[in-house]
Structures are given as structure tokens and as C-alpha cells.
Symmetry: C2
Subunit: 463 residues, 2 copies
């Protein structure tokens, strides 16, 4: 048994409903990666005869967190982690040009090695920022799994496929998901696996109804969730209606995707008329909102979180890929969720600091398929925790630490990070991987990703 | 003569029009606070017989900036710096409640000491973030001037007044502006003063036409600029039309404010019909855009930058006060300008990274009344420079450093900061003031600012 006590921190308590609060002077007791108790600093954990404090100092690692605030590790609920390799390579473009002139032609250059180098960099960036889980959608996902395991981060990985690659491409993606799931279990040592898999059809406009139907069948039969893009913009929804007579959400309903359980990225084009179709599956559906992308690509709308929450759909917060978001910083994303939701609803009292923090933590856990496993600092959850220092001038004086987290925090305020009870970032330094090597590898390969000389593309954006 | 060479940095070149670029391996030569030359590292500055490199090492300070990117120091074009003392104290509220239930009742508690403590903290936060100039609007502005001088930051300070304080309050604010101007000149040692003053009527809805007219007269007679809030929201514009039959901009035109030269904060409610009134005064008008505030207060619109630029009006970027913006981080603000302008115009190709950087630098200089003095790294300008390290994973790999600056930079990437050639931040540490003392003072007084027990207010928001 491995034990750890995070000593003398404040703790952000995020209840399932209502206001968040901060409890001061707390010890977080962790055994075999799980939170076993949270006690007033120095007090004995109730009912834990064999508690950390009762043992000799040799048995228990103590992480002194005096002056720090413990926050549930954030979840990046939708990303394409290896796209960090294209960061800044497609700026100031319409969504059509971004896909058709830059990103999809660049992705002709993807190789397992390049994907792995990108994923390693992405895991490093996220962990240093206090992101302890990410939900990914990309090709060569086996490489991403290896990078994630190496770094110690938690991840759910969906191997992407398009119907343009035929039944073979589709089935290869299913096989990749199975292998990742097996890998995650094989290294879990009896704990809940850090690495899980979902099935990853790209979107209703790039995957046929037949392939969506088949994916839903495999998901049901083998206990996978799905993760796809749908109703990304109002334009996509209108185009779907024009072409097919139905909205993208209706496509997901009629192909069984909603029924099988799915994380939908974006959903900015979800209409009120879609809600009754989604409501019966609210227990197995989630939406990831990535607002920086909607603004940057001038997509014209954002996720209708208020409507979706009214029918019980859980919401997570994501960055999407860094080729458009430029960072994998969920602090930035959650702040933008608060700001853009207030704007969308024209209601400054809406999307409060407490509600925003809940989306980035509990909501993210559900989006990742990990409800009850991560997303809160409470006994029974895995110890996925970010410890922040709010002493810098951009936070001071602190009238409300919850507001500090939403509106003042920079990722650089994160000092230590735990995933599954392991200290993966200590004093702002990764303990699991060699960051200079990762950056050097990424730099040396960066030019290969943005090479357009093949004059080819993996796909055409014409939703 | 004091000489400094910033050695072996990259330099962000922000031209008056067109794309920004980054020149690598440059030395920036500084004498008596002014940039005298920019040369390839190691080369002799042309035509400078008495150049730094020709002198003995004793005469010249060298700041090794290997691996760093030199960026023109940013300008915070509109803020109320001492409001950092109320950071996080009024969250999730409508604009009416924010003013009437929180901020203006809290400001009953303002004292010279509390304003100074807040301003000292604000100057520290801004300098550490690479903000070298701020344009302020607040009461007890003499205290802000002292805090700014002590920190070494550049500032233009407008002592705020409302007509509710009568002729006496108005004239006292004019006198305060005169005193600040005199103070700035008295400590300038023959250089352009770091501290300048503007006249600060609060807004057309809190200051009578008569007082606006009088302010414009004093401004013309004594060579001041003005700085006020106007057309902050569409609602304000509509309310002005309903009450007075004219828009806020028409009020500024008929009272001579536009003609005398004014920095207008926000202007989200500026209508197309206002543009012909503003165009004749484009040479002496500027607008400060603070988008985080417009989103957070659900104000419904943002500054119509495209229309304003079409008639030649310069635009700066600001944070507004930290009681709503929560930080004084202009990197955050400039990113939001890019994102929200793309959204406003529904045009992802608009407000490019180059244009955004130009607003935050050259635009800010003009907003501060300091055109040609700051806002660019070029011979003849004062040496107001931020040196950033873009080596961290959230920037890597770098395909476009301009995109890194707009979309990836955190204020924590700022390493060294120069104002007027003085190194005021070295290795992320303020050289001019004692930060722990400043934070301790702010903490100890914070509760006094948010005390509502007086059950009073300085003003009512009913525009």
C-alpha cells in the first residue's frame, strides 16, 4: 500500500449542486491512488484505524501544501492532442479554409512517430496546467495512449475514422480502441485504468449513417462509449436539413448513436427541436464546449448549455486541438465558457463561478466517462488534484477564491499535480518525463507536419 | 549618460500598417531611456560613433536576452487601477447591480491611503505582466501618481469627477490634474515625463453638459486631453436618445469634448450615425476596448472597431478595473479583442494577429496620448520593452511567434521589463518596489474596501 498525505492545504469543494466553497487547513489522505479521507490539518481521519497519521513517517509520503489551494484536477473534455504540432500554423482563416487549405492537407503528414511526439508534448502541457484527464479524438491513438501512460495523465482516447477510408478504416479504428482498452487494463495493477477508449467516428457529415449505425452496435455490444463531432455550427445544422431533411442530432438518434451513449463535441448548432430527442438519453450523453474555437473561427454561436442542462445533459469543457485553440489550457477555456455563456444568454447572473468550476471538474469527469472516479476531492474518488498558489499579485487581495479560479488564474499558478495519487508535477516540474527532450523532439519534427508539398488532403470539409 | 544594450534577443517589429514580423539576433541600444539603434547582434550601430559597443564595458550595462523575444511594452488603455482592492468582490451580477449594489456603495470607503495601496499593487501586477503604460481614471489620482512613480511604470492619470459633487468637485479634479502634470514634469529630469494627466469627467450620464463644456474649455486652454466613459452599451445609447433626443456621442460633439481631444472608454453603443460626428476629430480621438468586461457584464455588444477604424479612429486595448476584469492582464485583453472582433464581424480573417498586436502597442500609445513616444521598438522611441520567454510547452513548437503572442502567451512568460530604459522587472522580480510588502498592505486593508455598513453610495447608475 502506498500512502500520501497532502498536508495543510485549502480545498475547493465542488458539490453536485449549489455553491462551491473553500475549506481551509485540510489534510487530504490518499491510499493506493484513492482519496480515503479529508481532515482538518493534524486531526485523525475518522474511522481509519490504519490511517496515514497513525503510521510511522517512513510509511507515508507527506506533501507539504501550506498556502496552496487544492482543486479537483481539470478535464480537457475534447481535444486532438497531437495537433500541438500545428500550433500557430493556420491563423486568421475561415473554418472552410482552416480545414481545406491547412489542417487536412497537413494531416497527410501524420505518422506514428509524429503523433507520439505531439502527444507527449500535449500531455506535458496539460499536466503542468493542472489538467489531469483529457478526452482525445485522433488517429494513431495507440501512440497517444503510450504518451499518456508515460506521462501519468488520465485519458480516454477515441481512434478517429472517416467513412472515406472504407470499412477497413472503420474496423481498424474499432480494433485500435479495443487494443487501447486492453493496454489500459493490462497496466492498471488492479486500479481503475488510467487509459480508456471510446469509438471515434469523426462526424455525421464525414461518416455515413451505415457506419454510425455499425459503430453504435459495436459500442453497445462491447461496452464502449462514442465520441464524435456533431452540430458544430448552425451552418452545419442548416446544411444537414437542406441535404438530408434532418438535423445532425436527428441523424445520431436514428442511427442509434444517442442510445448507445456518446460524447458530442461542440453542439453549437443544436436546436430546441433536438432536445426531446436527446432527453431520453441524458444519462449517457455529454457535450463538450470549447468556446475559444467558436470565437476564433467566427462560428457564430456557442453551445446552448442552458437548454441542454434543462434536460439534464452533462457539460464538459474542452480546448479542441491546439491548431486552432493554440493552447491546451482548460483554465482559459473555463473562463471563456463563463464569459460567452453570460453573453449568449444576455444574463450576467448566469454561469456563475460555482457552476463554471463544476463543469470543468464534475462535468468533465462525466464527459470522460469517469463519473464518480475523478472530478471532485472527496473520499472514494481517485486522487486527481491540482495544487495552486494564489499568492501572486494578479490574485490579491482575495475576496472570493472561486472567482480567482475562474477569472484570475493562469496555468502557471499550478504548483503540484497528482494523478491517481502520484505526484506527476512537483514544484512546477514534471516528475515522469524529460520536458527538454520532449520539446526538442517536437521542434525538430515541427516542419514535417506543416509541409503542404504533397498537395493532397485526408478529407474535404463540405458539411 | 546612461547606456544599456539588450543583447541577442528577437524583436517584434510592429509596422504602422501591414504584417508584424520578428527579427532574430538583435541588439537594442538604449541611451538615457531612448532607443538609439537596433542592430544585428555584435554589429556596430550605424552612425553612432559614440555607441555602446564602442565604449568600455564599464560604461554600458548589458542585459543578456538570449532566447527572449522583445515586444513593445503593452499599454493598458483604460483602467481604474486601485479597484484591484475589490477584485472578486462583485461576481455574477448585472451591470445595474454591480454598480448600485456593490461598487459605488463600496467606493464610499475610498481614502487616499487605500487608493495608494491599491495603485501600488496594480502597478506591480501590470509591470510583471509587461504592461509598461496605463491610462487611469479614478479619484485620489495624486496617490496613483505617487504609486506609479515609485514603481517606474508610465501612466496617464485622469482624476474622476461626477457633477453630483458640484462645481467644487469638478474644479478640484481639474486642480488634481494640474498637480499631477506638474509632479510628472518636476521629476522628469529633462526626459519626457513618465506621469501625465488628463481631465476625467466620468460619463455623459453622470456629468452635465455644462460641466462637459467647461471641461473641454479647460482642456483646450491648458493643453489637456480628456478621458471619459461614453456609449458604454447599446442600452445607454438608447436611453440617451429617449431622455435627450441625442446619442452620447452627439452629447460629446455638442459640448466640445470631441473637438478638444478625448479618449473614450468602451463605445460599444456607438452607432453608424455617430461616425460622421467623430470623423473630423479622428486626429485627437481614441477608443479603449475592454472586451472581458462586456462579456462578463452581459453588455450585449462590443466596440465597433471596424467602423471606427474605417474613419481613422485609433483603438487601444484595456482591462477596465479589476473589480470586474479580475486581472490587469493586457495579454488576456488583447486575445479577447481578437476573438470577440472575429465574432462581432462574423469574419475569422478579420482582426489578425498583426492587427491585434498593433492595437495593444501603437494603438495603446495613442490612446495614452503618447504617440511616437512608446508602443514600438524603434530608434527615437522611449525604451518601453517586455522580454518574453516562449520556450514553455504551451508555445511549442512555434510556427508563428506572432500567433504565440496573441493566442498562447501568459503574463507569466514575461521575464524582464524596461520602462524608459530602466530595468523595472528583472528575472520576473520587481526591482523598484518590495512586492511582499505591497501584497501585505493590500491584504490588511482589503476588508475596508468592501464594507457596505455605511449604507451609502457615491453615485447611482441610471444612465
Amino acid at each position: 500500500m502506498r500512502e500520501l498525505v497532502v498536508r495543510n492545504c485549502s480545498v475547493l469543494v465542488v458539490p453536485e449542486v449549489g455553491e462551491c466553497r473553500v475549506d481551509e487547513a485540510q489534510d487530504i489522505h490518499i491510499r493506493d491512488g484513492a482519496i480515503t479521507a479529508i481532515t482538518a490539518t493534524g486531526a485523525q481521519p475518522d474511522g481509519l484505524l490504519d490511517s496515514a497519521d497513525a503510521r510511522s513517517a517512513d510509511d507515508v509520503e507527506v506533501l507539504d501544501a501550506t498556502g496552496l489551494l487544492a482543486v479537483p484536477g481539470l478535464t480537457n473534455s475534447h481535444t486532438h492532442s497531437p495537433m500541438v504540432m500545428m500550433r500557430g500554423a493556420a491563423e486568421d482563416m475561415s473554418i472552410d479554409d482552416w480545414f481545406n487549405r491547412k489542417i487536412w492537407p497537413m494531416e497527410v503528414n501524420l505518422t506514428p512517430e509524429r503523433v507520439k511526439v505531439g502527444a507527449r508534448l500535449a500531455c506535458a502541457e496539460m499536466l503542468l496546467a493542472g489538467v489531469t484527464t483529457f478526452v482525445d479524438h485522433y488517429s494513431h491513438a495507440d501512440q497517444i495512449a503510450e504518451a499518456a501512460l508515460e506521462s501519468g495523465i488520465r485519458a480516454d482516447l477515441a481512434p478517429t475514422f472517416f467513412s472515406s477510408t472504407g470499412t477497413e478504416g472503420r474496423d481498424a479504428a474499432f480494433a485500435a480502441a479495443r487494443e487501447i482498452r486492453t493496454l489500459g487494463l493490462s497496466v492498471a495493477n488492479g486500479r481503475p485504468p488510467r487509459i480508456t477508449a471510446s469509438l471515434g467516428p469523426h462526424a455525421p457529415y464525414t461518416v455515413t449513417d451505415e457506419d454510425l449505425r455499425r459503430t453504435a452496435e459495436v459500442a453497445r455490444a462491447e461496452g464502449f462509449r462514442m465520441h464524435l463531432h456533431a452540430a458544430e455550427t448552425e451552418d452545419q445544422t442548416q446544411s444537414s436539413i437542406d441535404r438530408l431533411g434532418v438535423t445532425p442530432i436527428e441523424v445520431l438518434a436514428r442511427t442509434g448513436v444517442l442510445g448507445a451513449g456518446t460524447l458530442i463535441a461542440h453542439g453549437c448548432g443544436i436546436r430546441d427541436s433536438d432536445l426531446p430527442l436527446m432527453e431520453p438519453f441524458a444519462d449517457r450523453t455529454a457535450i463538450a464546449c470549447c468556446p475559444k474555437v467558436y470565437l476564433k473561427l467566427a462560428m457564430g454561436s456557442t453551445t446552448p448549455i442552458k437548454s441542454l442542462q434543462s434536460i439534464g445533459i452533462p457539460i464538459g469543457i474542452g480546448t479542441d486541438g491546439a491548431a486552432v485553440h493554440n493552447t491546451l489550457d482548460v483554465w482559459e477555456s473555463l473562463r471563456l465558457v463563463a464569459l460567452t455563456q453570460k453573453q449568449r444568454e444576455q444574463e450576467a447572473e448566469w454561469m456563475t463561478v460555482s457552476d463554471t468550476l463544476r463543469l470543468a471538474t464534475r462535468g468533465g469527469a462525466t464527459a470522460a466517462g469517469l463519473t464518480h472516479l475523478t472530478g471532485a476531492i472527496e473520499p472514494g474518488r481517485r486522487a486527481d488534484i491540482a495544487l495552486l498558489d494564489l499568492a501572486a499579485p494578479h490574485h490579491q487581495p482575495i475576496h472570493d477564491p472561486r472567482a480567482s479560479l475562474v477569472y484570475s488564474t493562469r496555468a502557471s499558478d499550478v504548483v503540484h499535480v497528482l494523478v491517481d495519487g502520484d505526484v506527476v508535477v512537483r514544484n512546477r516540474t514534471l516528475t515522469t518525463v524529460n520536458l527538454p527532450d520532449i520539446i526538442e523532439d517536437a521542434r525538430s519534427l515541427a516542419h514535417t507536419l506543416v509541409d503542404l508539398s504533397a498537395n493532397s488532403t485526408i478529407q474535404t470539409y463540405a458539411p
